[in-house]
Each structure stands twice: as structure tokens, then as C-alpha cells.
């Protein structure tokens, strides 16, 4: 962005309002926008500003380069312009006026008239791959994460997924967050498999809010885990209780343990709601050709550092677990190690 452009967007006093167009709105955001006083600006980042509704829930107004999500309002703001430079500030009032969202006395007006509602299909249209093909896709996704991921959060654990020897080897080399999380993730996975609610809650409490980032790494991991569990169990046609019990117990531990933004994403994930790249990756793992799964993995990693990699860890854990469960139901077998 040139300094001239920057100046233009900063000087909201000169040109008011800045008008943007909403391209797509997530189905949950649609519901939350359906009131005259939408809320207040909670936080402003480069690619997004968050609006806190009176019910203490969030709506994310995002730039064009951010993908669709259940609470996202994707606008036409180009990627070279930062949300922090368009005059929107924390605590500004956000209202619904006619077919538009207005921010603080017309600092910003976003037209929602032609926006499409984004409501992803969680039951896949394409045929599911065989268990072996899904495993191959998971292996590729893991390799992509190891090659292209960010390892300042829990991403370091991806390398030892399914390899106990490797887990032992790297344990000494883990960062403090990954080292602390590792035993609790193992216990959580065991508790989910066994359907043991008290143990799920105990482990979740030892993970929620742990790690670097605005959405702490362990939260991102749990979001990936819950989303993949919900979506995969649904599509594999296996015991829906496995996912619903686990997700319900994890979600019950969230309040007060982490940041507001993270709470929101965890609550959504418990219902299988997540942004487009995450859902697409899960679909590609189960129905797509290997190169498609790998490309979708790269898109998830691009969500952010280290969030994308942490989400990926959760997806790999959840997918493995759901897949093992599906195979187990079809024929008794030895459960493959996850950590």
C-alpha cells in the first residue's frame, strides 16, 4: 500500500463514509446481524475487525483475502489495505441500517444487499475413499505440515503422530508448550476413545488456554480436533455419540479459561462449524485425490503462524481417531497409536 493510499484511508475525516461491499456472510453471522444494534467493535487487526454482540458473541468482518467462515462477513477490501488503517477503532458502535452495516456514525458502511449466505454442506456429495486411501491422504497432509508448518506452538507434535519412537526421541527437544501439552493430549485422545466424560473434561482443562497466540495453540488444536470429529463421524456414519460427547465435554470447560476470540472458535468447533479451508481439508482427506488433499493442507497452514499448524494437529488427531473408530466397528482391530 502506498503512503498516499494509507493516508487516504486513515483520514476518514475527509472522506466519509468509506463504503465496502460484503461478498459473503456466514450463516451464523447472518443470524447475529439480524438486529438493529449489532454490537461494538471489540478488536481490530490487519485482516479482520471483530464485533462483539450484546449476547457476548463475535462477528468477524474480514478482508477479501480471508476465506469464508461461519461468523465471517467477507468484504471487498483488498488485501493490501489493512483493516487497522480504515478508521475503525475499538468500542465503535456497529448498527444495522437498512441493507447495510454501519460503523460509528458512518466511519464505515458495508452493504450487505448482494452478499451470499455461506452455509457449507457438511455431508459430502462425493463418494468416500477407502480407509487405506484416507490414511494415505492423512500421511500426505502430515508431511505437508512437517515441511511447511510453523512450530512455535504445538506443531512440533505433528512429526511424532503415529510414531511412539519418534515421540520419545523428540520429547526432549520440544518447546515448553508442546512438552506441557503432550501428556494431556494423549490422555484426552484415550478418554475420547473410551467415552469417559470426566477424563475428557480433566484433560481439556489442562489444555484450554495453553500456548502462544491470540488463540492459544492448544485451543487451535482443540478446534481442529472437534471439527474433524464432528464432520468425520457424520460422514463415516459411525457412532455420533463419540463426537458429540467429546465436543460437549470439551466445550463445557471453555468459559473463563481462554481469550474471548478463542472461546468463540471453540464453541463453534464443538458444533462442527469452522472456516472454509478447514472444512475443505477434511472433505479432501475423505474424498479427494492426494494432490487436492495436500493443497488443502497448505491452505490451512496459511491461516496464520502458528494457528494453522496447530489446527492441523487437531485435524490429524481427530481424523485418525474417527477413522480408527470406523474401521474398528467394521472389524475388530488393533488401534493405531496416535501419540
Amino acid at each position: 500500500m502506498s503512503s498516499e493510499e494509507k493516508e487516504f484511508f486513515r483520514s476518514s475525516m475527509l472522506i466519509r463514509p468509506l463504503r465496502l461491499v460484503a461478498i459473503s456472510i456466514g450463516s451464523i453471522a447472518c443470524k447475529r446481524l439480524n438486529q438493529e444494534r449489532i454490537g461494538q467493535v471489540h478488536s481490530v487487526f490487519r485482516r479482520v475487525f471483530n464485533v462483539l454482540t450484546p449476547e457476548n458473541r463475535l462477528i468477524c468482518v474480514v478482508r477479501r483475502d480471508v476465506q469464508r467462515g461461519p461468523i465471517n462477513v467477507v468484504t471487498n477490501l483488498p488485501q493490501w489495505i489493512s483493516m487497522t488503517s480504515i478508521g475503525v477503532r475499538e468500542n465503535y458502535e456497529v448498527l444495522k441500517v437498512g441493507g447495510s452495516i454501519t460503523v460509528e456514525n458512518d466511519v464505515l458502511v458495508i452493504s450487505t444487499r448482494n452478499a451470499k449466505e455461506w452455509k457449507p454442506q457438511k455431508e459430502f456429495q462425493a463418494d468416500l475413499l477407502t480407509a487405506e486411501q484416507i490414511r494415505d491422504n492423512l500421511r500426505l497432509v502430515k508431511e505437508a505440515a512437517c515441511s511447511h508448518g510453523s512450530f512455535s506452538g504445538l506443531g512440533q507434535l505433528i512429526e511424532c503422530l503415529g510414531d511412539r519412537r519418534s515421540a520419545r526421541l523428540v520429547r526432549g527437544a520440544l518447546n515448553p508448550f508442546a512438552r506441557k501439552a503432550l501428556p494431556h493430549i494423549s490422555k484426552l485422545m484415550k478418554a475420547i476413545r473410551e467415552g469417559c466424560s470426566p477424563n475428557i473434561r480433566t484433560s481439556a482443562k489442562r489444555l484450554i488456554g495453553l500456548g502462544p497466540g491470540l488463540t492459544p495453540s492448544a485451543d487451535d488444536m482443540l478446534s481442529g480436533l472437534m471439527t474433524s470429529l464432528a464432520v468425520m463421524t457424520k460422514n463415516l456414519g459411525i457412532n455420533a455419540n463419540l463426537a458429540s460427547r467429546a465436543n460437549k465435554e470439551i466445550a463445557s470447560c471453555v468459559p473463563g479459561r481462554t481469550t474471548l476470540i478463542s472461546q468463540e472458535f471453540l464453541t463453534l468447533a464443538a458444533d462442527g462449524e469452522a472456516s472454509e479451508p478447514i472444512l475443505e481439508l477434511i472433505e479432501r482427506i475423505m474424498t479427494g485425490r492426494p494432490e487436492k488433499a495436500e493443497k488443502a493442507a497448505i491452505d490451512v497452514l496459511a491461516i496464520g503462524d502458528p494457528s494453522g499448524t496447530d489446527v492441523m494437529l487437531g485435524i490429524l488427531l481427530g481424523s485418525n481417531l474417527a477413522l480408527n473408530e470406523a474401521i474398528h466397528r467394521a472389524k475388530p482391530f488393533k488401534i493405531l497409536p496416535l501419540l
Binding site: G172, P212, T259
Partner: protein, 523 residues
């Protein structure tokens, strides 16, 4: 330890920004540990576990940002104000770097690229390297822990496609004047180097620079290239490429001892080369190679000086020391006069594997074999790398020291600890060090060593002993760290600084023996 926690109430920065701030704060001078996290209960517990939680931090809640610092007393206030300015700088959070995440996206950004540098965990290196080779790109493969079978497969493919595959575990190369990996800023010139050793390449290229000449191309092959399995595929290719390179007038080959059959293959390639080739297989008996008519060098320094002489049309000269014997013996006298009768051994703590190996090779004929994690003879392999025995040289860049830590060229923590340990040993007479400069290395390595050296000397003094320090600095005046400045700092700390690793090993041997090997050495 001094811990301070800065709490910013209801402060939100996106994860990328928090990571950038965290990494920037951790690099501030005097900061030992730093954590920038949201004050969730578990993060606070973690801060408490590592001793970084104060009362203020304890009171913070999940919507607050905490910056926990463990820093030197005198650095704390400047670190805190730096944190403040980083958090206040809105521009900082707006800066957005667009970095490619895959080879394909990198190629879209730079379609004319013909070389790719790959640094991913070893298990995944083959896949990335295969992709690059299939796209017709030369590869600099920094990754280590790549199975040798995969290395062979990659090198065969590279060879079929007439491409270079430098590595795996290739630390250094200079291609068309561009330094890849750890490397020094050296003159461009007419000497080509093919090296299976990263620090060996650094020592040779910097010594060529100091002779006033320069490097045309320096090709790294990775340490396993000359093994029986790989068969020297890239070293032979390197020789051919340098033969075709118009700028190159003479070539140096550097490696630890290759497999005997591979040695023959390499010598055959060198024999076919129309340009003069200097062979420096460290620790190998040179007579056999020399008898076949090859120009050989015993040390990295000899190799550099020999090839420089060849290019200048001069007669190569063997160097023991750059300064006169009398001056050397006066240094030895001054360094050894304070040694007690128990102090008999040289202890070398190296960041460069080849420098360690070369020191062992130089010391062996003078004072006997040194124990090491990379010994000349198997029976001198240290049982416990953490405990020295008689003469000992340790490669602290080897795997047992680097799992989960930065390389000792960057992080001096382990060397600092080992210095104090060796100082407490009443048998230690001389501690020998290498200090490597250049891209990728610590920004001020001598400064990292000054305090530990003083501490080590004090430990010995309190026990009624004098402890001698000998070092060589591998670098040039053009390196970001500046060779002269680094040497000056070490000299001021009471270290005998020599112009090469080989000369440092020789003077260490002289000091440890109180000059008893003088005649043997100078003859």
C-alpha cells in the same frame, strides 16, 4: 534470575504479530528468556513453572497480554521499554511479509530461479528435493538426518539431469558470489572449491581471501558424499563443473578421510581435470596420494596457501606459523609458566566438526591422539561426550549437542558451561576454541565468550593455576561481525589468537608440553 512481567490490559494482537514480538524480544541484549502470551490460567501456570510469573502477572486475566522477561539486571529496563515500543507501534503490526509456502508459489514469484535451498526436517527433505530436481532446479539441501539411501537416490537423479545436489546436511556454498547457508563474505576470484565439509570450506575460503585472492565457486557436497554408498557423485560432478567454469583456474578438494574406493574415483576425476587440483583429505596419509602426482595438503591452511600459490604461479610453501619461531616460543613461555604440574592436557571445544577433526589430526603427531566424538582412531572415541579425558577435542556441533538447540555457532550456552567444567579440571592446561563468523553465525561471538573465559580463568586462579586459552577466528574483515574486531576482543580477554585452526592446534600443543615439542615441530 530477574523476572519482570509487563501486563497490557485488554490488549489484542493477532498471532503472527505476537510471534514476531516474542522473537524480537528474545533477541534483545541481556534477555535470557522471554514469553509473550495471553494470560490464560494455563499460560500463567507455565510461566510459574519456568519462574517467570510475578504478582502482577498472576493478577492478569485471559483478555490481557503478558510479556514475561528474564534478563540481566542492567538490561531489564531497556528490554521493558523496547517491549513497550513494539506493542505501541501500530505500524509494526501492519507490516505484512508475503512469503511463499511451497516450491510452486516460490517459483511463481521468481520464475527464473535455477537453484532452490531446502531446509525442512530430514524425513521430508527427499520429497521436496525430488520436486525441485524434477523441475530442473539445482538444490542446496541444508536438511540433516536424511537417510543415505535417499541421498543416493537424489544424487543419481541430479546426476542424470545434470544438476547439482549440494547436501544433505550441506552447511555452506558460494555460488556465483552468493553465499548459501553459513558462509563468509569473501572476494570473488579464480579458485574453485569442492568440499564435503562446511567449516572446512569456510576456513579455506577465508584464508584464500586473506591471501588477497578470491573464490570463483564453492560447492558443498554434504558430509556423506564420499562414503562408500554414495561414491562421491557430487564431488566428481563438482570437479567437472569447475573444469568447465571459465572463471576457475585452480581447484581445491576438501573432505575428512573418504572411503578408499571413493578416494580412487575422486583422484581419477581430478586426474582427468585439465586444471590444477589440490587434494586436502584431512587426516589421510598424503604420501600415497602425492606419489601419484597429485598436489596434496595436510591442513586446510596448507590447502588454501597451496592453491593460492598455484594461481599466482609461485612455489607453494608449507607454513608452521606465520610469525617467527622466537616470538612463538616467547608466547609459549609466557602461557606455560603459570601452569601447575597437574596441567598437562589440551581441551578443544569446537563449533565446527572439521575444525575439531583437523585439530585432532594436527595434535596427534605432536602430543599423541586426542579423545573425541570424532576421533582419528576408533579407540579414542569418548565414552561420555560430557566428560573429557586426557587430550580431548569435542565437536559441539554434533547431534548429541544440537538436538532441540541452535548450532553452537549461534548459541554459546553449552560451550560456556563446558568452559567452566574444563576450568575446574586440574589437568586442563590449554583450552582451544574456534570462533566462526559470517552469515548465520552469532552476531558477536567473541563478546559471548569474553565473560565465560574470564570466569574460567578465575576458577583456575582460585585453585592456584593459570589457564591458557588459544583460539582461531574463521572469518574476514568483510563479515558482518568483522574479523579484526572479534580478534581484538579475544586478545583483550587474554586469549592467544592464531590466524588458522592448524596454527592454533600447534601452539596449544607447545603450551601443554611447555615447549618440549619445539624441535619436533620446527624440524
Amino acid at each position: 534470575m530477574v523476572a519482570t512481567v509487563v501486563v497490557r490490559k485488554d490488549t489484542y494482537r493477532d498471532s503472527v504479530t505476537l510471534m514476531k514480538i516474542s522473537s524480537k524480544v528474545a533477541q534483545l541484549k541481556g534477555v535470557r528468556q522471554a514469553a509473550v502470551v495471553m494470560a490464560t490460567p494455563l499460560n500463567k501456570q507455565l510461566l510459574g513453572d519456568i519462574g517467570l510469573l510475578t504478582d502482577e502477572g498472576e493478577r492478569a486475566g485471559p483478555t490481557d497480554l503478558v510479556i514475561a522477561l528474564d534478563a540481566e539486571d542492567e538490561s531489564m529496563s531497556s528490554a521493558v521499554s523496547e517491549v513497550d515500543s513494539l506493542l505501541s507501534a501500530r505500524e509494526y503490526v501492519e507490516a505484512e511479509e508475503i512469503l511463499p509456502r511451497t516450491l510452486d508459489s516460490a517459483l511463481r514469484m521468481m520464475p527464473d530461479a535455477n537453484l532452490v535451498m531446502i531446509s525442512v526436517p530430514g524425513n521430508f527433505a527427499k520429497r521436496e528435493a525430488l520436486r525441485a530436481l524434477r523441475k530442473g532446479l539445482n538444490v542446496f539441501l541444508f536438511s540433516s538426518n536424511v537417510p543415505i539411501e535417499e541421498e543416493l537416490e537424489l544424487k543419481k537423479l541430479a546426476s542424470e539431469k545434470d544438476l547439482l545436489l549440494m547436501g544433505p546436511d550441506c552447511g555452506t556454498a558460494i555460488i556465483n558470489g552468493v553465499v548459501l547457508g553459513f558462509g563468509n563474505i569473501v572476494n570473488q576470484g579464480s579458485i574453485g572449491v569442492v568440499s564435503a565439509s562446511g567449516t572446512g570450506l569456510q576456513q579455506i575460503s577465508t584464508l584464500i581471501d586473506r591471501e588477497g585472492l578470491g573464490v570463483s565457486q564453492a560447492i558443498g557436497t554434504g558430509g556423506n558424499d564420499l562414503s562408500e554408498k554414495v561414491g562421491g557423485i557430487m564431488m566428481t560432478k563438482g570437479i567437472r563443473l569447475l573444469e568447465q567454469d571459465e572463471k576457475t583456474r585452480a581447484i581445491v578438494l576438501v573432505s575428512k578421510p573418504p572411503d578408499p574406493q571413493v578416494t580412487e574415483r575422486i583422484l581419477e576425476a581430478a586426474d582427468c581435470c585439465k586444471k590444477p587440483v589440490v587434494v586436502n583429505f584431512i587426516g589421510v596419509e598424503n604420501n600415497s596420494i602425492g606419489k601419484k602426482g597429485f598436489i596434496t595438503a595436510t591442513t586446510l591452511e596448507d590447502a588454501a596457501r597451496t592453491v593460492c600459490a598455484l594461481v599466482q604461479g609461485k612455489r607453494p610453501r608449507k607454513t608452521i606459523f606465520d610469525i617467527a619461531r622466537k616470538r612463538i616460543m616467547s608466547i609459549v613461555e609466557s602461557e606455560s609458566s603459570g601452569l601447575s604440574s597437574t596441567q598437562r592436557y589440551v581441551r578443544g571445544l569446537f563449533s565446527g566438526g572439521t575444525l575439531c577433526y583437523e585439530a585432532v589430526a594436527v595434535l596427534a603427531p605432536l602430543i599423541g591422539d586426542a579423545y573425541s566424538n570424532t576421533p582419528l582412531k576408533r579407540e579414542y572415541k569418548l565414552e561420555d561426550v560430557n566428560v573429557s579425558k586426557e587430550h580431548t577435542c569435542i565437536d559441539m556441533g554434533s547431534e548429541e549437542f544440537t538436538v532441540g538447540r541452535p548450532h553452537p555457532m549461534i548459541d554459546f550456552t553449552l560451550r560456556r558451561r563446558r568452559l567452566a567444567q574444563e576450568a575446574r579440571d586440574p589437568e586442563t592446561a590449554v583450552i582451544m576454541l574456534d570462533v566462526v563468523l559470517g552469515y548465520g553465525a552469532n552476531p558477536d561471538p567473541s563478546a559471548e565468550l569474553v565473560a565465560p573465559i574470564a570466569e574460567a580463568k578465575t576458577i583456575a586462579e582460585q585453585d592456584g593455576r593459570y589457564l591458557s586459552f588459544v583460539a582461531s577466528v574463521i572469518g574476514t574483515a568483510k563479515d558482518p561481525q568483522d574479523l579484526r574486531r572479534q580478534e581484538r576482543k579475544l586478545k583483550q580477554a587474554g586469549v592467544v589468537v592464531m590466524p588458522s585452526n592448524a596454527q592454533a592446534a600447534r601452539i596449544a600443543a607447545l603450551v601443554a608440553t611447555r615447549g618440549a615439542i619445539e624441535e619436533r615441530l620446527f624440524v
